[in-house]
């Protein structure tokens, strides 16, 4: 495994996450795509830690994991509000601000 293959793997992972976010319309799948994008970024940090022989990249990955968890808990509750009170599960139906 060399550096270019590892970097392109993380790049592909990010692109797949971006595709999921852009193509899918359900809330849950959009959140899953965001998780994939976070993982692509984390993989880049791990590769950097290995390349420069430095644990600081791993620290960055750890922070990415924690912040992804924080983001997911809050956004899942907002999605739950959309399900229960607005009775929608599709992002195109969020038109409350539309006049």
């Amino acid at each position: 495994m060399n550096l270019s293959i590892c970097v392109s793997l993380s790049l592909f992972l990010f692109f797949i996450g971006l595709t999921v976010v852009l193509v899918r319309k359900e809330f849950l799948f959009i959140l899953m795509g965001m998780e994939i994008m976070f993982n692509g970024a984390a993989l880049t940090a791990v590769i950097g830690a290995q390349h420069w022989q430095d644990p600081f990249g791993q620290v960055l990955t750890l922070f990415i994991m924690i912040i992804a968890g924080v983001e997911l808990t809050v956004s899942l509750l907002i999605v739950m509000h959309c399900y229960r009170t607005l009775k929608i599960s599709n992002i195109d139906e969020l038109k409350q601000l539309h006049d």
């Binding site: 495994m1 060399n2 550096l3 270019s4 590892c6 970097v7 793997l9 790049l11 592909f12 992972l13 692109f15 797949i16 996450g17 595709t19 999921v20 852009l22 193509v23 899918r24 319309k25 359900e26 849950l28 799948f29 899953m32 795509g33 998780e35 994939i36 993982n39 791990v46 590769i47 830690a49 290995q50 390349h51 022989q53 430095d54 644990p55 600081f56 791993q58 620290v59 990955t61 750890l62 922070f63 994991m65 924690i66 912040i67 992804a68 968890g69 924080v70 997911l72 808990t73 809050v74 899942l76 509750l77 907002i78 739950m80 229960r84 009775k87 929608i88 599709n90 195109d92 139906e93």
Partner: protein, 176 residues
């Protein structure tokens, strides 16, 4: 010989990561998507281990799969799919054009930057160095992240209040 085996495992798990992530674009049910995401994260943990950070591989399994994905699965189980919301085929031209432009740009950047194609010598970065960096140099960042966790806890408690059952009235006066 050993290096070839590690390489084979690395490419296999990378393929599983990419395949399970691509499957998320096509699956219909949310639970299937959650299972595909769990497979992708597990294979990514193997990649983390092979790239020389064993602590992060373990934390990937514990934090992502043990905490976040279990949250996902429970969320899907307690929220049944809404049959009223129909899935219409979205308009895909603009996202695809944007993605294509992005792919072309990054491919050009990757080719122009001339990353070295020699194999990286993998050395294991031990968890001790990670802990020293975390609680020495990044002390303030750890405090900031912990206060972020506290803020998220308060936000979740506030947002979850409408789903709580109504409180029964205090019965202090009646028990006299």
């Amino acid at each position: 010989m050993e290096i070839i085996i590690w390489n084979i495992i690395f490419y296999l798990s990378s393929g599983i990561v990419l395949g399970a992530s691509i499957a998320l674009i096509f699956v219909k049910q949310a639970m299937h998507g959650a299972v595909y995401l769990i497979i992708s994260l597990l294979a990514l943990a193997i990649d983390f281990y092979l790239l020389g950070s064993p602590l992060l591989a373990v934390l990937q399994v514990i934090l992502y799969i043990g905490a976040i994905m279990i949250l996902y699965v429970f969320f899907i189980m307690i929220n049944p799919q809404n049959p009223n919301s129909q899935i219409q085929r979205p308009d895909l031209t603009l996202p695809l054009i944007l993605l294509l432009a992005l792919v072309i740009e990054t491919t050009y950047l990757l080719l122009a930057s001339q990353l070295n194609t020699q194999a990286i010598p993998i050395t294991v970065l031990d968890p001790k160095a990670l802990g020293i960096a975390l609680f020495g140099h990044y002390k303030i960042a750890v405090e900031v992240v912990s206060s972020l966790l506290l803020v998220a806890l308060i936000a979740v408690m506030y947002l979850a209040k409408p789903f709580m059952p109504p409180k029964s009235k205090p019965t202090l006066g009646k028990n006299k």
